[in-house]
Symmetry: C2
Subunit: 213 residues, 2 copies
């Protein structure tokens, strides 16, 4: 019944590292790196502080591990876009997936947002490289669509930023969005309307001219 060393799911180390990482993510998202105390993380994880230090060498190490995990997830998420798909179908799916991610995991993306806002002091060169190559594929896909005349010839990187920023906003600046919408908290329906609006404006604006004048 007890955990085996060979069972990776139940290994004590894996379980506790996840406990710490999850608690830290929640706290870093709310209070930032400097604003979060290791003792808070420990308490939220249900462990004594010294135990946290048994698994992680420092606060920065916990923080960096969270950033790294998010970055790898992020680059994977761009796979929605492939040259063969219909551009509007693919982009709509991407926008909706991004918003859904914002809705379900706001804390991860907030930690990353705070880091970027601060100028990326904890991002390693490898992290930055991950970001760079992650953007390569979608840009190529957009350029291919443009070359085939399937979407209007807009700047692909700026287009990605525009789409990205909208989805990001609902997670990172949720309380601002809630204020704007005059609701207490964003509900699933709000995210759906957000997606609809983006589809009806930005994506619609990408359609090639139907009329000459």
């Amino acid at each position: 019944m007890s955990a085996k060393a060979s069972d990776p799911e139940l290994r004590i180390r894996a379980r506790n590292e996840a406990l710490i990482s999850d608690a830290a993510t929640r706290l870093f998202a709310r209070k930032g790196f400097e604003g979060t105390r290791i003792s808070e993380i420990a308490e939220a994880a249900g462990l004594p502080k010294a135990n946290v230090y048994y698994y992680f060498g420092s606060k920065a190490e916990i923080y960096r591990s969270i950033l790294r995990r998010l970055l790898t997830n992020w680059t994977v998420a761009l796979d929605h876009l492939s040259e063969e798909r219909d551009p509007f179908e693919a982009l709509e799916a991407y926008v909706r997936a991004k918003l859904e991610h914002s809705r379900r995991f706001p804390d991860e993306t907030r930690v990353f947002a705070t880091e970027i806002l601060a100028g990326g002091p904890y991002l390693t060169p490898e992290d930055r490289e991950l970001m760079r190559v992650g953007m390569l594929r979608p840009v190529e896909v957009l350029e291919a669509w443009i070359a085939r005349g399937l979407i209007r010839p807009v700047h692909p990187r700026h287009l990605m930023i525009t789409l990205w920023s909208a989805a990001q906003y609902y997670a990172d600046f949720e309380i601002m969005a809630a204020h704007t919408l005059e609701v207490k908290k964003l509900k699933r329906a709000d995210y759906d309307t957000a997606a609809d609006t983006i589809v009806q404006t930005t994506l619609r604006g990408l359609r090639p001219d139907p009329v000459p004048a």
Copy 2:
């Protein structure tokens, strides 16, 4: 030659408060509230730490004064939108003005962004009310345009968020945008291209249907 008490420009108090406020804005933007030391602010302002405390009662007081100033500026900036103007002209002017502001004063908006990300712990109820009423006018204007059939019937608040988020992104997440564009630092031309892209996509998507099918 020396400053007179009646001269508001040169009054020592006004000058030093501005010195402190400016230095604090730069530092809060980079390092957040908790990450910024009063001693750093003092050094950046060229004053001894105790002198900072002569003008401000606490770190939180400096921080709140920055937030308040930004909020009042912000609500004023929405005046671009008025019902009488052509929607696309007005919205384009708004987007360009917003991006220009992001380019010229990235630090102010970053301080605010960090605060919102954290959930707004230092925002007073008055601040929140300022945000709410600031949004009232533009929404009314958008609704009037929609009622007159000048733009497509999209959700006005979500539209504002979409426009807002894009402009915001270039200031707050500048290093992310720079990475995406594969440049070291954003130049004026990048902001112009950003504005063009938004105009050509999101605003273009707002045009009423020219063709039925």
